[in-house]
């Protein structure tokens, strides 16, 4: 299908992009990899008059080591994130989750920042970012930068802390070197969006869970961090029974969606099973 007509610019710096956002206001839309935006335009669910392409801003691409954290440029593709050695070493949960995103074509075009900014509750990048306590760097009008914690970044369905005239520049991921990680994604066919998924990363000490981070995909309007379960897991033996017991409350109080793949109760049930599996695999490899 053919999108409605729009004007287009491809700035080469963040400042130019911000200026274009200011100029065109709510008629403007940023495009990163286009893997979520283009389907929306082609189905004519949205018809921005001006599209600002971030693809030529080199400064937004790449992964670097910044001491205690890794810094991922918003325009870094899923394919790069999935295979980047620094991410594999210090934030294995992110590599594993991103590898489950869509298919090779989509991963080659789609970006880490675009997916986070899009904030689809069934998307696979939010939960690992949340579990690892990522921070989001947002460029504001006037040249300022603001850093938002993961807990504050995801606001609602398709809604983040990024303002209309702002853009996401980078994501800082605290290093979790040596932590086991697993992303347990439940789908009916390959290349499907998550029905439910669980991101878990665990620091194990000789068969015991020293620390755990757990977050859920598609169990509500935003990714959800399971802090209560993380507490219950601390100090438990990394056995199936011990973990089962600790995670049994993981879905309490959640309001997951209902659709052709299952109702809310079924998703809550899945969250319990998948959390057990994710944590066990993260803890024991």
């Amino acid at each position: 299908m053919i999108p409605a007509a729009f004007d287009y610019a491809a700035p080469t710096t963040v400042d130019e992009a911000l200026a274009l956002l200011a100029e065109h206001g709510e008629d403007a839309k940023l495009i990163a990899g286009g893997q979520s935006l283009l389907p929306v335009l082609r189905l004519r669910l949205n018809a921005p008059e001006f599209v600002i392409d971030l693809g030529r801003i080199d400064a937004l691409r790449g992964v670097r080591d910044d001491g205690g954290a890794l810094v991922v440029g918003a325009m870094t593709t899923h394919a790069t994130v999935a295979t980047d050695p620094l991410i594999a070493q210090h934030a294995a949960l992110v590599s594993k989750a991103v590898r489950t995103v869509a298919d090779a074509q989509v991963r080659n075009r789609g970006t880490f920042g675009g997916a986070l900014a899009h904030a689809d509750p069934a998307g696979d990048v939010g939960a690992p970012a949340l579990a690892l306590g990522a921070q989001f760097v947002i460029a504001e009008q006037g040249g300022g930068r603001r850093t938002v914690d993961a807990g504050d970044f995801f606001v609602d369905l398709f809604e983040t802390a990024i303002g209309e005239d702002e853009l996401l520049t980078e994501i800082r991921i605290p290093k979790h070197t040596g932590w086991g990680a697993h992303y347990e994604k439940f789908v009916r066919i390959a290349q499907q969006w998550s029905i439910v998924a669980v991101a878990a990363t665990v620091r194990a000490e000789g068969g015991t869970i020293a620390e755990a981070r757990v977050a859920l995909t598609n169990m509500g309007a935003t990714p959800l961090r399971a802090t209560a379960v993380e507490e219950l897991l601390r100090g438990r033996p990394a056995t199936e029974d011990a973990i089962r017991d600790a995670v049994s409350s993981v879905a309490d109080g959640t309001s997951p969606p209902a659709d052709l793949n299952g109702d809310a109760d079924y998703r809550r049930h899945l969250a319990r099973v998948l959390t057990r599996r994710a944590v066990l695999t993260a803890a024991t490899g």
């Binding site: 189905l43 390959a190 052709l260 299952g262 079924y266």
Partner: protein, 805 residues
């Protein structure tokens, strides 16, 4: 003709790579949307968002004034020459058939129906202007749920007074083909077993890869339509019959067509609109649908409720089968829409000797997308029902499901066998296919593993499902179609031309859209005429080239079209013989044909068929009075249907914690008679299995309470890919058909027909232990989990369609 007896069949049986694939996979193909004509205009459709509504006004002024827009048409602009869309198979004389206009006038009857068309100089301009057409609707109550619709409380077409379109009945006692089923059921209730079930056939979307597209060129002496269709000849006939253009002024071309699966055997509003508009504007026009439009507007398949009663003796001999179907037509009766379940009527008894049979099908109009043939068309539904019933009966009796089947099936000594539905099965060997499938599958080992997992209470349980299917294909003997009130015959046509250079040009009336006819048919002709495979060119899909034909569907191309080809090729040889005799100065009786050469018995003298063709071309030295041509054509009307069969065994792993079903092993042994090209047959089986498995586990066209198709994109309509399937273990048995020269049987639909019940039987086999009796298709994880949970909680163990969804 003694070619096959006297020398090894060089081509038939060879796994030739497909001739057409170089073109198709390197992008040098020509699909309808690739066709660009000078001055061509583009169409965009304005479609109803409502399932049922009165159209109170249409304001197209803004659209008409938009840049590059040539015209906007609504129903008010149409005249008689726009025609109507026909139903070619009224299944009963009193069938209620709503008029199907090419544009909705004052009322829309499903979400997706076209209310206006924009004609513009580019596809983008047409699309932009379509957004500007302002249509006012007054919503009407919609008949959506099939079971409610049959009650006639809400009418899909209020003017018709009923949603019930036709009730089609077959009764073996009345037909004299068997006993009275009510007697059988009464007897079984007294001393035997009666299994009563209600199964749901989920609605499916054919989901062909190439969306539908049509180009019409009104310039020139004949009007030309290119269409992504399976049925160019039928489209031509229907255009002539409904739009007033004489048939001999119409040329319809199906160029490369990217899949159909029955979904493109329709005559469509989009084609009729393009045809009419091109004639209004006197310029070529093109319309190519979007995927979203394809999902809502191209016809859907299946969608039935099946109420079934099976009577048997206590030792497992089936004594009667009663079938009561309700079938959803959607809002119009499509070209063979009502007939699809009727095709199934002959297949519920399947491979079994069932003494008494009653079948009744009520077709029902609803405010949903129309339904028609989808790969298997009626036979998958029938096979599903009987194969599920046989497994349920085995479970009830505590018998092995294979043993129960064996007790009831027709043994190979009993062919030809006349069934309780009145068909004569010519050949088959169910014992051989089953024995071989069991061996390849490792049946006993998998049963042992199943027992171990059960005993250990493994969260992942193993299930084994069986489907010993047969089907009727090769549509169809014309007289049988006549007796069923079908609006056409079932013959097929072929012509073979020997060119001056010795090459062979063949035109077939079948119309391939991915099947590989160019390859398989070349193999047949190469063998028949003793010419190189490469020298044969197969032409199809153009009514000015393949001048006669009835197209491709119902696994008919090889068994009907291929037989026409054999007969035409044999005529060429017969016509060439006197020429050869003349050239060799021998008597015709002394000429024998072998390997492409006419020889004189007992001598070394001979001429090749190419030399004969050359001599006929120059016509310098032919027998006196002989017409200078050895070209020939043949029209073949099959004497019977064609009955492939097979044994399909499926093992699945069911994760009882999540309800997830994964295929573990899939073995099938199909008896498709003589195989012309094993590679193509394997491709047909694999693709067929994928689609049958998809019905069992993944695909579902779901409408919400407002009549909107919820699974209207591939995000929600789950078509599995290679990543979701396993490596199939596909084998063959071969009992040649006795009703055609080559002994071939159809294979286009076999995999789809057989696999759905094999998979569902496997899922149930894994979870029956908990008390689960039925799971509605598709067996999604949510449904499987809900069924297990309910059964464990002591419920009946059945799910409704809505459960868990």
């Amino acid at each position: 003709m003694t070619v096959t007896a006297d020398r090894p069949a060089a081509e038939i049986g060879r796994d030739r790579r497909r001739k057409e694939d170089r073109r198709l996979i390197t992008g040098s193909s020509r699909y309808t949307d690739n066709i660009v004509l000078p001055g061509m205009l583009h169409l965009a459709m304005v479609r109803s968002p409502f399932a049922h509504a009165r159209v109170t006004s249409i304001d197209a002024a803004e659209a008409k004034a938009a840049a590059n827009v040539v015209a906007v048409y609504t129903a008010a602009d149409l005249d008689e020459s726009a025609g109507v869309l026909i139903n070619a198979w009224p299944i009963t004389p009193d069938q209620v058939t709503p008029v199907h206009p090419v544009l909705a006038a004052d009322r829309v009857t499903f979400a997706g129906e076209i209310v206006a068309v924009v004609v513009a100089r580019s596809a983008a301009a047409a699309r932009d202007a379509a957004e500007l057409v302002d249509v006012d609707y007054d919503e009407l109550p919609a008949a959506l749920d099939l079971k409610e619709a049959v009650q006639d409380t809400v009418l899909a077409h209020p003017d018709l007074g009923t949603n019930k379109s036709a009730l089609w009945v077959f009764d073996s006692a009345a037909a004299g083909t068997g006993g009275n089923v009510e007697d059988a059921i009464t007897a079984a209730r007294a001393d035997g077993v009666v299994i009563e079930r209600e199964y749901r056939q989920n609605r499916l979307i054919p989901a062909f890869m190439e969306p539908r597209s049509v180009v019409v060129d009104p310039t020139g002496e004949q009007l030309t339509m290119w269409s992504a269709t399976q049925v160019p000849h039928i489209v031509r006939f229907a255009l002539a019959a409904t739009t007033g253009v004489p048939e001999n002024k119409i040329r319809v071309i199906a160029p490369d067509v990217g899949g159909g699966f029955g979904g493109k055997l329709q005559v469509t509003p989009e084609e009729w609109l393009a045809w009419w508009i091109a004639r209004q504007v006197h310029k070529p026009v093109k319309y190519t649908e979007t995927r979203s439009e394809s999902m809502i507007a191209a016809h859907h398949g299946r969608d039935q409720w099946q109420k079934l009663t099976l009577a048997a003796t206590k030792d497992g001999r089936v004594t009667g089968l009663k079938v009561e179907l309700t079938a959803d037509l959607g809002s119009y009766v499509a070209i063979v829409g009502g007939g699809v379940p009727v095709l199934g009527a002959f297949m519920f008894n399947a491979i079994y000797k069932i003494p008494a049979y009653h079948f009744a099908c009520q077709t029902v109009l609803t405010n949903k997308t129309w339904t028609d043939a989808y790969r298997g068309a009626g036979r998958p539904e029938a096979t599903f029902a009987i194969e599920r019933l046989m497994s349920d009966l085995a479970d009830e009796l505590g018998m092995d499901p294979l043993e129960l089947r064996e007790k009831n099936w027709i043994t190979h000594e009993e062919f030809p066998f006349t069934t309780v539905a009145g068909l004569e099965y010519d050949s088959g060997n169910y014992e051989a296919a089953t024995a071989s499938a069991k061996k390849f599958f490792g049946y006993d080992e998998l049963r042992a593993e199943q027992a171990r997992r059960r005993a250990a209470g493994d969260p992942v349980q193993l299930g084994i499902g069986i489907s010993t299917f047969t089907e009727m294909c090769g549509l169809a003997p014309s007289r049988v179609l006549g007796s069923l009130d079908y609006g056409a015959g079932g013959w097929e046509h072929a012509s073979v031309r020997m060119l001056a250079t010795g090459k062979v040009e063949v035109a077939t009336g079948t119309s391939a859209h991915g099947q590989g006819h160019e390859t398989a048919f070349s193999q047949i002709v190469a063998d028949r005429l003793g010419v190189p495979f490469e020298d044969v060119e197969i032409l199809h899909g153009d009514t000015q080239v393949s001048v006669k034909g009835l197209d491709t569907y119902g696994s008919r191309s090889l068994v009907v079209g291929g037989e026409a080809l054999v007969k035409a090729a044999d005529k060429v040889v017969e016509k060439a013989k006197p020429v050869a005799a003349h050239l060799l100065e021998a008597a015709v009786d002394d000429i024998e044909f072998q390997g492409g050469r006419f020889g004189v018995k007992g001598t070394d003298a001979g001429v090749t068929i190419q030399e004969v063709a050359g001599a006929v071309f120059t016509a310098h030295n032919l027998p006196d009075g002989m017409e200078p041509s050895i070209d020939a054509e043949a029209t073949y009307d099959p004497i019977n249907f064609n009955y492939p069969h097979g044994t399909h065994l499926c093992a699945v792993e069911v994760d009882t914690e999540t309800g997830q079903v994964r295929l573990r092993k899939y073995t099938c042994v199909d008896d498709v008679g003589t195989i012309v090209n094993p590679l193509i047959v394997e491709g047909q089986v694999h693709g067929g299995l994928a689609q049958g498995i998809a019905q069992a586990l993944y695909e579902d066209a779901v409408f919400d309470d407002a009549g909107t198709l919820v699974s209207g994109s591939f995000v929600d309509y789950l078509v599995p890919s290679a990543a979701d399937l396993i490596s199939f273990d596909a084998h063959h048995a071969s009992t040649p058909a006795t009703t055609n020269t080559l002994g071939t049987k159809g294979v286009g639909e076999a995999g789809t027909i057989a696999s759905t019940p094999a998979v569902v039987n496997a899922v149930l086999d894994a979870v029956r232990q908990f008390g689960v009796e039925d799971i509605v298709m598709p067996c999604s994880p949510a449904r499987v989990y809900a069924a297990i949970a309910a059964a464990r909680a002591g419920d009946t163990g059945t799910t409704t369609e809505g459960a868990g969804a």
